[in-house]
């Protein structure tokens, strides 16, 4: 037995080392940082302990802007992408021909580099001296004035960010919902068919309750993912997100840490913990709601 103890830990050692140094220690340290006031990263000294970092972050207009952007992004993209994914998955489930082809195409955004394709989106939407950009030309056909999506109004920029976010997150949601739909037992549908139940009723009374756990899983992971949005915004608006008024909470954390305004790990830590608390709260609310409405 003694020998097995040693052996067990020996096999576990590499993983434990990596996790200890790069996950458990940082997790404790981030709380320590967030309470150390006036931390200087060059001399690694600080003058006090308290809540000043949190107060600084919560009063920083850049953080408030990032908070607002992130919340708008979450509120728009999570329900929208879940609904679209549901529609597409139901569509996919009802056809036979070309189904695999569609599934393959729809999954493509998952395996692409967010920054690479973001650049393509930027070019499709951008209005330059040379051209109004393809999207504006298409809008022009419908009689709309060209809009500057990349450097124009807040609403226009937010629209592009939301559009790109939905484009990026859909593959995962479609995949999960497609397999959830496939796992609903055919017996239920057959019974409904014998009773002559109309399609929409079958969908509301059978399909939706049966896939509700997966739907809920997607909503929860969707919320968590959208709150951590960052590289999508960088892909479209570049790294100077504060200037573009398009920064996100995670973007704010990284800007505090490194870059032109960086060198403040204490502020970054405070912001990271605020983000963590927000995500935890929303997830708990989600779980509470799901207990009432999800059929397991």
């Amino acid at each position: 037995m003694e020998k097995n103890n040693l052996k067990g830990w020996l096999y576990l050692l590499p993983a434990a080392l990596f996790l200890g140094v790069f996950m458990i220690y940082p997790l404790i340290d981030v709380f320590v940082y967030s309470f150390e006031e006036g931390y200087n990263s060059a001399s690694q000294t600080f003058f006090g302990v308290g809540l000043y970092n949190y107060s600084y972050v919560l009063h920083d207009p850049y953080f408030l802007q990032a908070l607002k952007n992130t919340f708008i992004l979450v509120i728009i993209t999570v329900p929208l992408s879940t609904l679209i994914a549901l529609g597409i998955s139901v569509g996919l489930a009802s056809i036979e021909k070309l189904r695999h082809l569609f599934q393959t195409i729809f999954f493509l955004p998952y395996v692409t580099n967010t920054l690479a394709v973001g650049l393509v989106f930027m070019i499709l939407f951008a209005k330059t001296e040379y051209t109004d950009g393809l999207v504006n030309i298409i809008l022009g056909i419908f009689g709309m004035e060209p809009i500057d999506f990349i450097e124009g109004s807040y609403a226009a920029k937010m629209f592009v960010l939301c559009f790109y976010t939905v484009w990026i997150v859909l593959p995962f949601k479609i995949l999960i919902l497609t397999s959830a739909l496939a796992s609903v037992k055919q017996d239920y549908y057959n019974a409904a068919m014998i009773d002559g139940t109309p399609r929409w009723r079958v969908f509301l009374k059978i399909t939706l309750p049966m896939i509700s756990p997966m739907l809920f899983y997607l909503v929860i992971t969707g919320f968590i993912g959208a709150f951590k949005a960052y590289s999508d915004a960088v892909a479209i608006f570049g790294t100077e997100l504060n200037v573009a008024e398009m920064n996100t909470i995670v973007g704010y954390i990284y800007d505090m840490l490194y870059g032109d305004g960086g060198g403040y790990p204490s502020y970054a830590s405070a912001a990271a913990i605020i983000l963590f608390v927000i995500v935890l709260t929303i997830t708990s609310i989600n779980l509470l709601v799901s207990k009432k409405h999800v059929h397991y």
Binding site: K7, A15, F18, L19, S81, V111, L119, T131, G238
Partner: protein
């Protein structure tokens, strides 16, 4: 009577056909929205700089295709270096991850040792920790260890994925114990049993985990951006940002698109080859979005 039944039957048939047609149209439209950026990327990359800027209404078919942009992409920015860096980073990280993960999963699945349950619980709870919380200290750690702008600094914090350990442990545990005892009787050592029996038997899961990690590494942006500011260590994602902010001059969009195409192609090929494995793997445990 018979007539009205027939017409009713006909009506439902027509309705069914209409619904089907609408479904295909809707799916087709979304497929178009998904594919269009890729089409535009490739299309723009084979337009010459002159003709791209001359088109105030862009042409949908290239009139005069050219591959010059690809040459520009490789010669005027160190695209090849970004590529090699990403390849080194991806391969090293994935290989290290595999070793660490397989060993840990084996310990959890097959060996009885003191503290196993507590260790496993701690591992599981780590799955819930968002990377944003730990990245700050890791940045400070790596900076203090003078590992900024080194492969070590890029790779080490990216190695472990608790979820993959969990996934593999479940798979290992599903192999019947009898095999293990039989091997013990034959005097096979644990490590030999792991490599000769368990790993081959769990190959599908190992391949899935490997591919998911490769995708993750190839697309990683945040950590590399924090830890490298020397262009010699840029990965492709950072390379794209550098190219965008000045590589070809902001206006040379065809060259940019050539670079973006080159960067996107390896993963698209990987996806088309391992389509089934990737989609299964993501359905089991990938998250994004």
């Amino acid at each position: 009577m018979e007539n009205s039944l027939q017409s009713k039957h006909k009506n439902t048939k027509i309705r069914k056909k209409t619904i089907k047609a609408l479904t295909y149209t809707a799916l087709g439209i979304w497929a178009l929205i998904v594919l269009f950026p890729f089409y535009w990327m490739i299309l723009t990359s084979i337009k010459s700089y002159g003709s791209y800027n001359a088109e105030s209404t862009p042409a949908f078919v290239p009139t005069d295709p050219t591959f010059d942009n690809y040459i520009t992409a490789f010669t005027s920015v160190p695209l090849l270096d970004y590529f090699i860096n990403t390849l080194i980073f991806t391969l090293a990280t994935t290989a290290l991850m595999l070793v660490v993960t397989v060993l840990a999963a084996f310990a959890f699945a097959r060996i009885n040792f003191k503290g196993k349950n507590i260790a496993f619980t701690i591992f599981l709870s780590l799955m819930m920790i968002p990377s944003e919380l730990v990245v700050i200290t890791n940045f400070v750690t790596i900076t203090n260890m003078d590992m900024r702008n080194t492969f070590m600094g890029l790779i080490l914090p990216s190695v472990t994925s608790v979820f993959y350990i969990y996934l593999l442990k479940e798979n290992f545990a599903s192999i019947p114990d009898e095999l293990y005892y039989a091997a013990k009787v034959d005097g096979t050592s644990d490590i030999k049993y792991l490599l000769k029996v368990m790993v081959p038997m769990c190959k599908p899961t190992i391949i899935t985990v490997t591919i998911l990690k490769i995708i993750e590494c190839w697309n990683s942006y945040v950590w590399p951006r924090l830890i490298t500011d020397d262009e010699a260590y840029y990965l492709v994602s950072n390379g794209i940002q550098a190219i965008r902010e000045g590589g070809f001059g902001r206006e040379n969009i065809p060259a940019m698109m050539a670079a973006v195409t080159v960067i996107s192609i390896p993963l698209i090929i990987l996806f088309l080859v391992f389509r089934k494995k990737i989609m299964e793997g993501v359905a089991r445990g990938g998250t994004k979005g």
